[in-house]
Amino acid sequence: MGEPRHSSTTLALMQELALTEEEIARRKAFLEFHDEDVQRLQELGGLAQQYADEVIEDFYRHLLAFDESRRFFTDPAVLARVKAAQRDYFLRLTRGVYDGAYVEDRLRIGVAHERINLPVALYVGAYGFYLRAVLRRVQEAYQHRPAEVLPLFVSLLKVVFLDMGLAIETYLAQRERTIRLQQEAIRELSTPVLPLRERLLLLPLIGAIDAQRAQQLTAQLLHSIRAYRAKVVVMDITGVPAVDSAVANHFIQTVQAARLMGATVIVSGLSPEVAHTLVRIGVDLGMVHTVGTLQDGIEAAERLLGYTVQKLEPPMLVPHPEEGQ
């Protein structure tokens, strides 16, 4: 299942999961993974060499017997390569060295699994199969010393649980990274600056405003003010669920920056709840031109620009073709 690749991703992951030497030691302590376990695993090492090929054959026979796991091994060349890597992976369990390099190796495998979208249940299930295959062989080899089987197997379990913890955290970390990237993408999509009339821009804000987004939208607005030679901007915050002092501060700074560029900003869409809250916190929006609704905002902007909107009597309704005649 494993393929070594991309050590830079793995290193970043080591940092993200804060897998320092101390943290690795803490994890081992929690697993009660001690020196005697290392010795037992080393003792198992010789036997592991002997059964490695057989276990790998059993392991892939099992994986290829199920549709959900077979689909990862459709290419025979890939299968051969993965088999060899998997053999190394298993052998490393009993090599007796469980340091930072070991952990890094385990994370690399986790990253590879995440990339091919290997379900966690398959990973855990396959590991279970491996453990049963090994247990059978250890029991055979120690049939004259049966009392030693359990301690050996328990030591193996400890290191396997160390592995599984790392692998599952790798999955989670990768998913979180994906979510972060998507959030950034949404952020970019969500702040359009719309030219509404000559010299009039509309900036409709939807969703939560955080520091990063506030900075981005200020920058975007300032560019647009220059590009459209805008004089008035209506910033509509109807779709912003919460305005705390930090968000209010962002708004004030945006308004000030726009003013330096020669544009007046009208903030529209303050809900009664938000207005009430801002007054209670003590935010002074005195220097910001605020109006209730988007419509009020656009009307105020038009007045500032000298537009008058006139209603025609009778109204010139354009009939729909099918309703016409």
Binding site: Q183, A208, D210, A211, Q212, A242, V243, D244, S245, A246, A248, N249, I252, S271, P272, E273, V274, H276, T277, R280, I281, G282, V283
Partner: protein, 133 residues
Amino acid sequence: MDGETRVPICRDSDIILARQQGRALAAQLGFSSIDQTLIATAISEVARNILLYARQGEIILRPVSQSEKKGITVIARDEGPGIPDLTLALQNGYSTSNSLGLGLPGAKRLMDEFAIVSEVGKGTTVTMTKWTQ
């Protein structure tokens, strides 16, 4: 509705999560829409302080009751640098981070009860409660 909710705060999006959870709990407890916004904003202020000064901590949301009254208690706890001068920190417009300086005093005004305990080098705990009218 009985149990308390804990929201770890270690990045910007956690503030939004804490705020949403707080608003949802306030709605369950029967707070008005305006009060829900006041509570959510107070949570936002203290959560942002955690992020700004301690980098990480947690927000605990707890339903409380006193005879007939129902309320919500919000605890913001961190193990950050602590606040050397609480009087100053509770003053309007005082800020060490170029903000409006309304975070703590603002949160205090939004809630009915407000207590802050801080020890330099140990951390800060803000406990605040709002009661349904």
